[in-house]
């Protein structure tokens, strides 16, 4: 780090990391890390194999599509949308994270929870809600009597996607801020930097891996999202892929576009790997990390609060308010409330599959994260990046790939809970990998080396030393997987146990046929249930810093 070339004082004053701290282990990475990492990357790359097999069936048509002008247009559209959504999410998410961790903002823990919850609202539900509220003739226009700019197209798609995906940045940056060693910032201040200079030259660079990880998750999420772009009528890759599948069962067309999407994803992965740099955020000297002292906002307290309230109001209260409105209107018109037993069975099915997926994803993310940080090489970074492949592809592509493989090779496991969990892991593993990796970066390798030096075998060091130290990352990654799996639709529909309702399928079953009131109850239950792990997670994280 730039702040850290001074000779450390002899006292217990924290020492900023030095280049030497980036050292990685030499030699071949151990088997107990490589095997699970290979399994993870292999699973994530499985759909790619399916795509290649399918595309090879009709090579001429594949090439035609590749060079058509509409494909280029879709490519450009998608690129612009990704860039705008990432930029918008950073503008919302980074200040939200900073305000709720590092300052004396009133009620910051509550705001962090409420600010993270929009993540659990399925994008197609959010899109219906925003169209109803902000669309032409919608609630805002008819009550305020004003004309809003059109919600359709690039602007609306960007707005809705920012509002459902900025929590990725909020959560990853929050995690990094909580785990940040205040000594670094204090050293910077004591060396004569102003608060603003410290923020710019020390804090922000230290947040780079987290910002990068969050941005990548958002970018890939935007690539794969269907609900928002379809309802807001923006021709992105995913919408085109779905259209190919739905119209005339054009599997080749869909596959070619999906392969292009993979190429796009690889480009993003390479860019992000460069942007995140080689920052090490752990301490190398003696002493123990303290929690940071909150920064007094002073006269900025109320404007900051207003910003946070506005974000929560638009991203959470508005869609939830629309859901409540649907529910009440339906009940008033004599619809059943649908809080009957079946909603709770659906909730249990959702929670069980999502929780298992979270546990498996976190378990696989650990070796991937440790490998890519401690045994950094082209091969291990490629392995880590490979786990992202499943995440950027539209759910329907992954789901059909797993249908193809599962129906042939999985035997009785096909369309079982295990299959569904595997699908979730393929889809959402990178969320866990990103979080775990960021945590590993904050752990000094010297701790692990000391344990090994005392004769502990490598795998025991992993379980007894590394795992407890990266627990915040494991929990955060697991929670992200849990929350996104709760709302996942295509794989749930195609691969879940036949006849099992989940909250996401219940919501979809109702909205797809315009029964909005019937969708409201399961959607509200989804938001409430997802709030629980989020609350526990944020509490723990907070406790970590306290």
């Amino acid at each position: 780090m730039r702040a850290g070339t001074e000779t450390p004082p002899a006292s217990a004053t924290p020492v900023p990391p030095m280049p030497a701290a980036r050292r990685r282990r030499s030699g071949r990475p151990p088997f107990h890390l490589v095997l699970p990492a290979l399994i993870a990357a292999g699973a994530a790359a499985l759909p790619l194999g399916y795509l290649v097999v399918r595309a090879a069936e009709a090579p001429e048509r594949a090439l035609d599509l590749l060079w058509s002008s509409s494909t280029a247009e879709v490519l450009a559209n998608t690129g612009v949308l990704v860039a705008l959504v990432v930029a918008g999410s950073l503008l919302v998410g980074v200040p939200m994270a900073w305000l709720t961790t590092s300052t004396d903002l009133p009620g910051r823990r509550t705001w962090a929870l409420l600010g993270a919850l929009p993540l659990v609202i399925p994008s197609y539900v959010a899109a219906y809600a925003y169209i109803g509220a902000l669309g032409p003739g919608g609630a805002v226009e008819s009550t305020l009597g004003i004309t809003l700019p059109s919600i359709y197209g690039l602007g609306g798609a960007t707005l809705v996607l920012v509002l459902v995906s900025y929590p990725y940045v909020l959560l990853t940056v929050r995690g990094a801020l909580v785990g940040l060693d205040p000594g670094l910032e204090e050293a910077s201040r004591s060396l004569g930097h102003s608060a603003a200079q410290t923020l710019r030259r020390v804090t922000l660079p230290l947040l780079r891996p987290a910002v990068g990880a969050g941005s990548l998750l958002i970018a890939l999420y935007v690539l794969s999202d269907f609900g928002a772009v379809s309802l807001l009528r923006f021709d992105s890759f995913t919408r085109t892929i779905y259209t190919s599948y739905r119209a005339g069962f054009d599997r080749t067309g869909a596959v070619v576009l999906a392969l292009l999407l993979v190429a796009f994803t690889v480009a993003l992965l390479v860019i992000e790997a460069r942007v995140r740099g080689k920052v090490a955020a752990h301490r190398v000297g003696t002493g123990v990390r303290r929690s940071r002292r909150p920064i007094a906002l002073g006269r900025w307290r109320w404007p900051a609060l207003a910003f946070v309230v506005l974000v929560v109001a638009v991203s959470l209260l508005l869609p939830v308010g629309v859901l409540v409105f649907w529910l009440l209107r339906g009940v008033a018109a004599g619809e059943p409330l649908r809080l009957a037993a079946e909603t709770w069975v659906a909730a249990w099915n959702s929670v069980r599959a999502s929780a298992l997926a979270a546990a498996v994803a976190a378990a696989l993310a650990l070796p991937v994260g440790v490998l890519s940080v401690r045994y950094r090489s082209r091969a291990t970074v490629a392995l880590e990046r490979a786990t992202y492949l499943g995440y950027a592809l539209p759910g329907i592509v992954i789901a059909l790939a797993l249908v193809f493989v599962g129906a042939r090779f999985a035997g009785p496991l096909y369309q079982s809970l295990a299959m569904l969990v595997a699908a979730y892991v393929v889809l959402f593993l990178p969320q866990a990998v990103g979080a775990v990796r960021a945590s590993v970066l904050q752990v000094p390798p010297s701790v692990e080396e000391a344990a090994q030096g005392l004769g502990e075998p490598g795998w025991r060091v992993l379980f007894r030393v590394t795992t407890p130290l990266v627990r915040p990352g494991l929990l955060a990654g697991g929670a992200l997987v849990f929350l996104t799996a709760m709302k996942e639709l295509p794989a749930t529909l195609l691969l879940g146990p036949t006849g099992d309702r989940t909250l996401a399928t219940a919501i979809w079953n109702a909205t797809s046929e315009a029964f909005f009131a019937r969708a409201a109850a399961p959607a509200l239950v989804l938001v409430l249930i997802s709030g629980i792990p989020m609350a526990i997670l944020l509490r723990r994280r907070h406790g970590l810093g306290a």
Binding site: R246, A247, R329, V403, A407, G458
Partner: protein, 380 residues
């Protein structure tokens, strides 16, 4: 230091992974045992968090066997492209009446059909319940359906069954022009579907180019009017129309007055009216024998992989009983197809809808329609 640990490491992780896999097996077998009504109390959270040790318990690890056992009892697996909100109660009714275990997988019609194609001969599906004749035609085209009994086919008008006898309609749906009653008088509506591209409807007409029902409708128009006329019409609609993702979105936008008229299926409106009786939208038919009033079906086909076709035929017949047909009319607001079953009071009788005689099995050329829509600029 490290080399000493190698051998242990080699054992420990595979063991852990095996334990995880076994845990998955155990849980999925619990899954197979659980009847649908299984509540949270039956399988508590403790079970999900189960200690990997439990996987070693021989009593618990019999997952696959149990799954096979259930396959032997009478079970019909339905892949439904129709929403659970629409057909769930009727399928549950059959299960309750006969004691047959009906397992239903719900999804989008075309995605369900694509799933069956990807599964190939390993498909667990016995019956496909499709949203329209197009999806059924696609499965038939790939040779995945089997012949239905004559008696079954005879219970509906021959217009509503596959001439080759591989699928049968279970309920009818009509294409209509829906309009916002605050913005348009019924008398001012376009007379024929070709008129909706007139300049006066610029920015006022909603349509759904990516939607299956719309595409089936365009296929019908091609059969009736020829490709050139239809391509020009689609290009015109692309110019004056406002494109939505699906019929629901069109009707929702009509309610807000975002557009004044929309070409859509007839039954979505009644769902909105059920939740909001003051919803300012009504349906109208085009004048005379217009292809704009095309009647399509939702229907079923029995898969070639069905384990016990006779049992599946029985379910198909149930969907054509008076009770089931009355359900489709009263609860789903669709047209009953079996003669003599009264329809929804707000709707005309299906025989009264004036529409050219288009053979639904001619609506199979979806690929041609998609290409036409692409040429006209309506699809990317």
């Amino acid at each position: 230091m490290r080399p000493r640990s190698r051998s242990t490491a080699r054992l420990a992780l595979p063991a852990l992974l095996a334990a995880l896999l076994a845990l998955g097996l155990v849980l999925s077998s619990c899954e197979a045992d659980e009847p649908d009504e299984a509540g949270p109390d039956e399988a508590g959270p403790e079970e999900a968090e189960a200690d990997p040790d439990e996987a070693d318990d021989p009593d618990e690890a019999e997952g696959p066997d149990d799954a096979e056992a259930t396959a032997e009892s009478p079970t019909i697996t339905v892949y439904s492209g129709r929403s659970e909100e629409l057909v769930g109660p009727i399928l549950e009714g059959y299960a309750a009446e006969t004691g047959v275990d009906v397992e239903v997988r719900y999804g989008d019609s075309t995605e369900m059909a694509a799933t069956i194609l990807e599964e190939g001969q390993n498909s667990p599906a016995d019956l496909f319940f499709g949203q329209d004749a197009g999806a059924l035609g696609a499965l038939k085209g790939e040779g995945r359906l089997q012949d239905l009994p004559e008696a079954t086919l005879d219970s509906v008008d021959e217009r509503f069954a596959d001439p080759d006898g591989q699928w049968v309609g279970t309920s009818g749906r009509a294409r209509v022009i829906a309009y916002n009653t605050d913005a348009v008088d019924e008398g001012d509506l376009p007379e024929t579907i070709l008129d909706v591209t007139d300049p006066e409807w610029e920015g006022r007409v909603g349509w759904a180019p990516t939607n299956g029902s719309f595409q089936a409708h365009v296929t019908g128009m091609r059969v009736e009017l020829g490709d050139d006329v239809v391509e020009e019409w689609v290009a015109g609609l692309d110019e004056v129309g406002v494109a939505y993702e699906n019929n629901t979105a069109i009707v929702e936008a009509l309610g807000r007055g975002e557009v004044d008229v929309g070409v859509t299926n007839h039954y979505y409106l009644y769902r909105f009216l059920e939740e909001d009786p003051g919803f300012p939208v009504e349906n109208a038919f085009f004048t005379g024998e217009d292809i704009g009033n095309l009647v399509n079906i939702a229907g079923v086909g029995v898969l070639d992989t069905a384990e016990d076709p006779e049992a599946v035929f029985d379910l198909v017949d149930y969907l054509l009983t008076e009770d089931a047909q009355a359900y489709f009319a009263d609860e789903v607001f669709e047209f009953p197809l079996v003669p003599g079953v009264p329809g929804e009071p707000r709707l005309p009788d299906i025989e009264e809808i004036e529409t050219p005689d288009v053979d639904l099995s001619d609506l199979e050329d979806l690929q041609g329609t998609v290409e036409l829509l692409q040429r006209a600029g309506a699809l990317p």
